[in-house]
Amino acid sequence: MSIKIENVSKRFNDFVALDHVNLTIEPGELVALLGPSGSGKTTLLRVIAGLEVPDEGRIYFDSEDATDKDVRERAVGFVFQHYALFRHMTVFENVAFGLRVKPKKERPSDAVIREKVHGLLNLVQLDWLGDRYPHQLSGGQRQRIALARALAIEPKVLLLDEPFGALDAKVRKDLRRWLRRLHDEIQLTSVFVTHDQEEALEVSDRVVLFDHGRIEQIGVPDEVYDHPATSFVYGFLGHANQLQSRVRDGVAEIGRSRIVAPEHKGIVDATGTAYIRPHDLDIVDDPSTAAFTAKVEHVVKLGSTVRLELSDVADGKALEVELPRERFDELDVVVGSTIHLAARRARVFIEGPAVKQELA
């Protein structure tokens, strides 16, 4: 089933949680809503589920307007950040809940329920836990039970609110890969909320970036990472050094280095901020081509890469460079040495007035 969000707004008193959001989610897609806390991503998920009522705008499931439909009738699967398992019920009864509360006419027989619950518990690989209570399970197990429970009502849409947020790093990684495989298996239109960019980029088909209740960018993971549409996305997705820059005739000047900025071809003169990924900086010998000169404060070796934490000699600003291990070993860099850096790639966002080329 596809989900269409049309011009949806929601405020909580003075706080604008969603500001005229438009988004279409294709059938069978796994979409990540990514953004810092308070950016509106969870509110949108709850609006889709029917747990919040939007102040403005419509929600469509396929072509059907679901805006005024009650939560109960929407048949969505919802997985909560803190699992929200029914603490006084066994795992089996938790999963069976959605079937047991159906109206008498639609309610399956006990035998059918039993079969179905065991099927779901097998799907999440926890059939042996049926008789336990939620407090006897680990976080990862609870989340998988919560997922099985959500799937029991055969939802047309699966919504997950920070599904791995409360888990430790290792379990988190395993579980998100497992979720991706599960999604490929059952092909259910799914939306999940996360503030973890790595999670969003690894798991999803498409990433929707939120900030201040607005969508900043929508795209496949590679696209949003390599071609961030706004300065917010650049800063939020992965680390980026920010440096003052001046754009003249389509060339960005960052310190003494010059980088062609084709997206600013028409601009004669403007100032802005250059965003440079740590791995897009390289150490150069010749200071006349360097973007900046900096002192090495820390060297952090992270397996195959080495991260240098620097302070700009000119203004003391903290900066970061990432080098492959081999490159680092070639160079003679130690804590305290002064190095010159040039940017291989940068993206400049113009701030303030720009003198534009007159079009003939």
Binding site: R72, H82, F86, H135, R149
Partner: protein, 301 residues
Amino acid sequence: MSAVLEKGAPKASAPAMRPRATARAGPQRSASWKAALLPIVLTTIALLYVAVALLVPLAAVFVEAFRKGVEHYFTSISDPEAWSAIRLTFTAAAIAVPANLVFGIAAAWAIAKFDFRGKALLITLIDLPFSVSPVVSGLVYVLMFGLQGWFGPWLAEHDIKIIFAVPGIVLATIFVTFPFVARELIPLMQAQGREEEEAAVVLGASGWQTLWRVTLPNVKWGLLYGVILCNARAMGEFGAVSVVSGHIRGSTNTLPLHVEILYNEYNFAAAFACASLLAFLALVTLVIKTVVERRFLKSQR
């Protein structure tokens, strides 16, 4: 106690440590001796206090009740007037407790799981009977439903008796026991949050199904605890009930009021016999309360 010793000893002995090895033992021993004494003194004070203020009076009730023998005891409590007082006490509790149970669940549910205007006001109002003197609560009903009260003439016209009758006693009892269940449930439900209810609704449960299958099972021990406290107060209430009762023997006397009447008539043995019933009820309540409390704390974990 050992924890107190370990903590107390080094601190107290520290200044005397260096000068002479022989002098060291003295102050240290006296310090630890003092530290050991403190819990004993405190415990003794507490126990003595409990004995004088609680145990002796409680024992006195039973001793006085049986002073004229077992036979006299049973005659006293099976006296028709006593029997009528017992019945009325149970009737009032049997109406007040379920009424406050329903109200308490509804109020706690509304306060903990929904946002609405006037929520803070409702929370404050629920506490009102705790802060108002029971006598005042009784007087309020007299002012409203008494012969000279606001609704008095209308009630008289329709031949409805509230004050100096059973309905007044029930109303007064409801009023003073009003907060118990709600007060017990509100913090509990607030702590449990709304996520489980939201999960239930998303899975297709109706409001009633959510209440019966999710909300109530989660608070059952807290609920039972509130009911026990509510019942204890309902059966023991004196002040408010005394104002609205009219003390008509065999008709509008509850057990606590009956005890007072007997006592004022210098019928001490009978007064204590009836009082022993109330004391016995209190003891039973205490046992149930302890058991429930234990289960409650266990379920919280």
